[in-house]
Assembly symmetry: C2
Homo-oligomer: 247 residues x 2
């Protein structure tokens, strides 16, 4: 039976980390809110169900038969071994999940560059604060997180340009998305930083060239980045490193 | 061999969610940065090690023999079955981890009430923005998260006042800490909200009365809340619901 992915229609958002794993593995899945005979109402209905005992707070969540799994990192932990995208060694599995949770933290910080005060309000209502938070993010947080991921990559005893172990895992796919998203949202900073993270840039390029990923990216299933997702390009937040004011 | 917990000395912080599980189970563990012959240098040394292949970005992390596990939810996923604090049924295990990841998201939002712009700067440098973010947090985010946890609790088919299944899990312990921390940081809001979340309040009280937890809370191992942790009490952020301005 096909996996059912529940996520907001119209954006890559957090759902994209899951889509990349499903697509790379060539798994059968239904992107429920975008499927012709399904839709967003079904997703909301599940979240607001008065009878379903195990409800998720927010998408993305995945249904596999009777099982509902919520949160990106949890879904990838579940799918990883089933899709051949998890390390086989148990110790590496714990490490991979820890890395994915670091991606989760980072994605939340990306979101807050355009929503530093209130998720319930529009970006335009918190523009000044977003400018300050974006400057901090560009000057301190991108280097902190990408520097960390680069060290992990370079130090992988198995080498081979993978984040964990000697094969491609869901962590590699997620870091492709991180680099892709940052390059969309903050091209000035990413051009300046590219030389610092050669391993991540090469990893990004290798993932992009994987046949199933390349086919996915060229398909209508891959939505374009836009200003409703996590990675948003606002020219006024695309600040050269060291030139903004974080408060 | 005793578990080794690595976390910043002097605060409850994120480490507390792990400590509560270890303490409730009566597990042997070393709180490394607070141990007489150990210390913070050892933790930093591990994070900045030039040789260790699997480094964590940030504490808390747990060492069990050769294995290093980072991130609160990952650590609790690892410890849960070993400490008898995880559901036995696999489907419930995925649900419990999803709930813990929701606690993780919530803790990050609590942190950002006092640091909405820059983690690298002092609270005093972002006080105005903190006021706006705290108002949004109190008006919209506390009800969103606590309302969700209350629904999950009330709807648990096994009843018995547990978040997952028919026994105490690490999720129950973490929600005790969430209620405890919110009550410290935002007493005005929590007094107003208490009647809305009777299940969570009762859960909090039951966890607090568990013999090992009660003994822990009365011991010097339990640090007091303070203004270096995640849950901080700043009178100017302790806003009555509906009276602040979120932007």
């Amino acid at each position: 039976m096909a996996y059912e992915l529940f996520y907001w229609n119209g954006i890559q958002g957090r759902g994209e980390f899951v889509r990349l794993a499903l697509e790379d593995a060539g798994a059968a899945y239904i992107d429920v809110t975008r499927a012709p005979d399904r839709g967003t109402g079904e997703m909301i209905g599940l979240m607001e169900s008065a009878t379903e005992p195990r409800i998720p707070l927010a998408p993305p969540f995945l249904r596999d038969g009777d099982l509902l799994v919520s949160h990106v990192a949890n879904i990838l932990l579940y799918l990883g071994p089933r899709l051949g995208l998890a390390p086989r060694e148990a110790a590496l599995g714990w490490f991979a999940h820890g890395l994915q949770l670091t991606v989760t933290d980072f994605a939340a910080e990306v979101h807050d560059t355009h929503h530093p005060i209130a998720t319930s309000k529009y970006y335009e209502e918190q523009k000044a604060e977003a400018g300050a938070r974006a400057a901090e993010f560009i000057d301190n947080r991108i280097p902190k997180f990408l520097g960390y991921f680069e060290r992990v990559l370079q130090r992988n005893p198995a080498g081979g340009g993978h984040m964990v172990g000697d094969g491609v895992t869901y962590v590699d796919l997620s870091l492709f998305q991180v680099i892709e998203g940052l390059s969309y949202a903050f091209p000035k900073a990413m051009r300046r930083y590219a030389g610092r993270y050669p391993g991540l840039v090469a990893l990004h390029d290798r993932v992009k060239a994987r046949p199933n990923i390349a086919a996915y990216l060229a398909s209508p299933r891959r939505l374009a980045f836009n200003e409703n997702g996590i990675f948003r390009h606002y020219p006024e937040l695309d600040i050269e490193p060291g030139t903004g004011t974080a408060s």
